[in-house]
């Protein structure tokens, strides 16, 4: 799948690439998940029970985007 390659047609480049759009999708989805977790911010056990996990997700998201930007393209 996606491995049978032959000559193609050159197309005009404009707008946002699918890589960026998928990155935006990841940010939107992850932001929503963080919103869900952070809506418990006012519970007394939030800092000890929830925050380590939510912080882990935040760091993972940032790392995901940074490593994705740094990684070589699929060329």
């Amino acid at each position: 799948m996606g491995e049978f390659m032959s000559a193609g047609v050159e197309t005009v480049e404009r707008g946002v690439t699918p890589f960026v759009w998928l990155g935006v999708a990841i940010i939107v989805g992850a932001a929503y998940a963080l919103f869900m977790g952070l809506s418990y911010y006012n519970t007394p056990t939030f800092t000890t029970a929830a925050l380590p996990t939510i912080a882990g997700v935040v760091v993972a998201l940032v790392a995901f985007l940074v490593i994705g930007a740094w990684a070589p393209p699929n060329e």
Binding site: M1, P18, Y40, T43, G56, N74
Partner: protein, 899 residues
């Protein structure tokens, strides 16, 4: 692939002589002849010929049959949830309730069953089967094994409904009301007050056998291919790894539900040992596994479709391989994270938490690998058709749903989230925005191949995508908002605050949008079948065919479908270095989170499983969760026996030991200003907890947090916190919002109050009823049970009949007086329980005046003991159809008298 002169595929799969048997057995010959006779007759009708593709090869025909069946169950499942949500919204808006509790909980149960197994899983089996066979160029064999699998899967849906009556009048009250995950012993005859039909358990067994046959069929074909291509194939396509993972996970997961269902069935007939907790652990090996089996739909879709549309191979094959292996290894062992709040050994809870965190790794690999596959794709090379639009929705949806998984998996955080609408939001984000969106991507890519026609309307496809995205996103959002307030799942009865009512109404709105959105899809499918342009595929590779099919969902396609020349310029080592960096970060983060959360995890799990050593002066609660009230035995400074009332002094420590009879229950105090209390209580097991009561005197609601049968909504207890000494008003309690417990009943002045009983037999739509306040001295208020409130949802008149006048006839025959007494009862904290101050007969249709002269103190008013109720419409309850009885307590409240 067979192609006609016009290039139209007459067969999706390869054809040829298939010598399964040299001389087919007589039974097979009979089946073949019968099928041919039916097919040739139905094919004469254009509608059947088109919809079921009766002129095509058998694999296409059976796949279309599965697709049609899954759409059918999806439509029925949508009606199920529409019925549930309209009833819940009617309760929120004070409108009349149109269905019985039994019917409405059956709707919810069957919604889950039909959507998960009739719709989603059947569609998964259909699509994976046809794609696997097509992509591998296999010649399908064992037709009747495949038919048997499909038959059993659909038969199971019918069996799980249970019997219903067509004559003498239609009666569907006996549909099961267990929940898609069913907790032993709920529903088991002799062990539970709510008894499901044994057909329920047989249905699960049929489903298990049917799905395992499908997996065996797939495995046989894969092995055929493997043997015939040994030495010729360097590697299996990445998407096929995840199809194989599904094939492996199905028997591993379904073996456990087969075992637990068989165990339940034996128990149903009084055979064998009973161990509810062990049974639940066994069930959840399946309950978790099946989520991942379905989750492999979008995962497979990503690996299958993204490289096709990116016109380049996957970023890292090794990473994809590793993800498939880790998914397969970890999925079957994560049962206990659904049972964190039960008395399981703390080491097992911790180990499950750790392993569950590590199952993030294959998802992390997948998202990185798939995302990076598109890096370097130019804008003009990528088309946003229905396939890629649903792919990106699934991408975002998996993030939204998947990244709330770690929250649930953190045991100490799970105490706040468990069984609330947060969980419902989490799994609908996964089920809809991730799984179903990924499924639609595959359907838009594959359906024309089955139909032999291109999609009819790109605009309908766009409308479907846009309206579905809006509907599902709103639905998930408002479920979450209800959850963060502390509202429990499966709530038919809930506190009617402005926010909760508003969120519930919006939830119904987005449910309707979600259902309506699918009409665009169904219309497009039908138009495609009857008016779609004939598909020609001559000279095209499979990738090009998929692009061509997807292109027919784009109004103005500009991207060519042809393959492009691709030569690797970035070496594998560089790409894999990025993958390794990302995986290392994820593993380090998981270890960090584990280190940070482990102490509290072990501490909380230990507290649930073993009795604590409470400080001196603590109160001891021995609780039994009955269907449908709490039996309370107190010892310590306060002692006595109560029903649904728990009494404690402000700031006092409370040591709870709790068990259940008949079904799993949950002791839940959804505080927001104090640590939430939430433990599951299971028959034949003891759960413990130690907590400090609020320092502010008041009435704190404690709803049962586990579904325990169709009168579930009525069992809300009250933690009555008395002042440490003397008396105290409720002013501070009201000003601090009752410590944020959303279920707290409203506070009303007692004198002059006029409490109206609703259709559920509750005062002012609240259980407990409003907390009434008064000063010491004469207190006067009124109760009123309107005759119009007496219906099948009111437990007060123990007559259930399909005769709409049955209960009213009973009332008329008994002078509108019921065999119970209502009154005001003092709470005696020194062993006397509830002491009557004043009582009177319970009447319907005329106000009852409650008058007493009261000293400062706390009282219980109304109907203060559970009422036995047998639900038996038209006398049709039997062991075969199911039955229901229980003790219900809803028409009561607390009267707070202070100077």
């Amino acid at each position: 692939m067979g192609v006609s002169d016009a290039g139209t595929p007459k067969t999706v799969v390869a054809e040829g002589p298939v010598a399964v048997f040299e001389h087919p057995p007589a039974l097979i010959r009979f089946f073949d002849r019968t099928e041919e006779a039916i097919r040739s007759r139905l094919a004469k009708l254009s509608f059947f010929q088109r919809v079921f593709q009766l002129d095509r090869d058998w694999m296409t025909r059976i796949t279309m049959l599965m697709v049609v069946a899954s759409v059918f169950w999806g439509i029925v499942g949508a009606f199920d949830i529409f019925g549930f949500e309209t009833q819940v919204t009617a309760f929120a808006l004070g409108q009349s309730l149109h269905l019985s509790n039994q019917e409405i909980y059956s709707s919810l149960t069957l919604h889950g069953i039909r959507m998960l197994f009739g719709f989603a899983q059947q569609l998964e089996l259909a699509l994976f089967g046809i794609i696997f066979v097509t992509a591998f160029g296999l010649v399908p064999r064992h037709k009747w094994a495949y038919y048997l699998s499909v038959l059993l899967v659909n038969l199971s849906m019918v069996l799980m409904e249970g019997p219903f009556y067509l004559f003498p009048q239609f009666n569907d009250n006996y549909f099961p009301a267990l929940g898609w995950y069913f907790y032993s012993p709920l529903g088991i005859r002799g062990l539970s007050s709510y008894v499901a039909s044994p057909l329920w358990y047989l249905g699960w067994i049929a489903l298990s056998v049917g799905v395992v046959i499908w997996a065996a069929w797939m495995l046989i074909h894969f092995l055929d291919w493997w043997r015939s291509h040994r030495g010729q194939v360097r590697r299996i396509p990445p998407f096929a790894l995840f199809v194989l993972a599904t094939v492996i996970l199905i028997p591993l997961s379904y073996a456990t539900v087969l075992a637990s269902s068989a165990w339940d069935l034996f128990n149903y007939f009084g055979v064998g040992p009973v161990d509810p907790l062990a049974n639940q652990v066994l069930f959840w090996f399946f309950g978790h596994g099946v989520v991942y089996i379905l989750f492999l739909i979008p995962i497979t879709a990503f690996y299958f479709l993204v490289p096709i549309f990116a016109k380049r191979p996957i970023y890292s094959y090794r990473a994809a391989f590793a993800a498939a292996v880790v998914f397969t290894v970890l999925t079957p062992v994560l049962s206990i994270h659904h049972l964190y709040l039960t008395p399981v050994p703390p080491w097992s809870a911790w180990l499950t938490m750790a392993l569950t965190f590590f199952i993030i790794v294959p998802s992390a690999i997948t998202f990185f690998t798939v995302w990076m596959t598109t890096k370097g794709v130019k804008r003009g090379e990528w088309q946003w058709n229905a396939v890629t639009l649903f792919l990106i929705l699934s991408f975002a949806g998996t993030m939204a749903g998947g990244l709330t998984g770690p929250d649930n998996n953190t045991l100490a955080f799970d105490i706040d989230l468990h069984n609330t609408m947060f969980i419902v939001s989490h799994f609908h984000a996964i089920a809809l925005l991730s799984i179903a969106a990924g499924g639609f991507a595959v359907v838009y890519a594959a359906f024309p191949l089955l139909a032999g026609r291109l999609w009819y309307s790109p605009r309908l496809a766009r409308a479907h995508f846009v309206s579905t995205t809006i509907g599902w996103s709103g639905l998930v959002l408002f479920m979450d908002l209800l959850g963060s307030d502390g509202i429990l799942r499966r709530s038919l009865i809930f506190p009617l605050t402005n926010a909760v009512v508003s969120d519930q109404v919006w939830l119904l709105v987005f449910t309707v949008i979600s259902i309506g959105a699918q009409l665009f899809f169904v219309a497009n499918v039908l138009l495609t079948l009857f008016k779609g342009e004939l598909l020609t595929v001559q000279g095209l590779s499979l990738d090009e065919i998929i692009r061509k099919l997807a292109q027919s969902t784009h109004p103005k396609p500009t991207v060519p479908i042809s393959n492009r020349k691709f030569e690797r310029s970035v070496p594998r080592a560089r790409r894999e270095r990025a993958e390794r960096t990302w995986i290392t970060v994820v593993v380090v983060l998981i270890l960090g989170v584990l280190v940070a959360t482990s102490p509290l995890t072990v501490s909380d799990s230990t507290s649930i499983g073993t009795p604590s050593d409470p400080p001196a002066g603590s109160e001891y609660f021995s609780l039994v969760n009955y269907q449908y009230y709490w039996g309370v035995q107190e010892s310590g400074p306060i002692h006595g026996s109560f029903s649904d009332v728990m009494v404690v002094r402000a700031g006092q420590w409370v040591a709870v030991n709790a068990t259940a009879q008949g079904a799993t229950g949950g002791f839940y105090l959804p505080f927001r200003n104090l640590p939430t209390v939430d433990i599951q209580v299971i028959p034949d097991a003891m759960s413990y907890w130690l907590f400090q009561a609020p320092s502010v005197p008041g009435v704190y609601a404690a709803p049962d947090s586990e579904y325990n049968g169709p009168w579930f909504g009525q069992d809300v207890a009250a933690l009555v916190v008395l002042p440490a000494t003397g008396s105290s008003s409720l002013a501070q309690y009201q000003s601090n919002g009752g410590e944020g417990d959303i279920y707290n009943p409203p506070v009303l002045g007692a004198n002059g109050a006029f409490l109206i009983v609703d259709q559920e037999g509750l005062f002012d739509n609240s259980v407990p009823g409003p907390t009434l306040t008064a000063s010491p001295g004469p207190v006067t208020f009124q109760y009123y049970i309107p005759t119009s409130s007496i219906g099948v949802d009111s437990y007060l008149v123990n007559v259930t009949s399909n005769d709409p006048n049955g209960q009213l006839n009973y009332l008329a025959a008994h002078n509108y007086t019921l065999p119970y007494r209502v009154g005001i009862y003092a709470i005696n904290t020194t062993g006397g329980g509830l002491v009557p101050v004043t009582t009177m007969p319970l009447r319907v249709g005329s106000p009852m005046n409650e008058t007493a002269t009261l000293a400062a103190g706390v009282y219980v008013y109304g109907l203060v003991s559970p009422i036995p109720y047998v639900y038996n419409p038209a006398g049709e309850s039997t062991w075969m159809t199911g039955s229901e009885q229980g003790d219900i307590m809803g028409m009561w409240g607390i009267l707070w008298v202070s100077s």
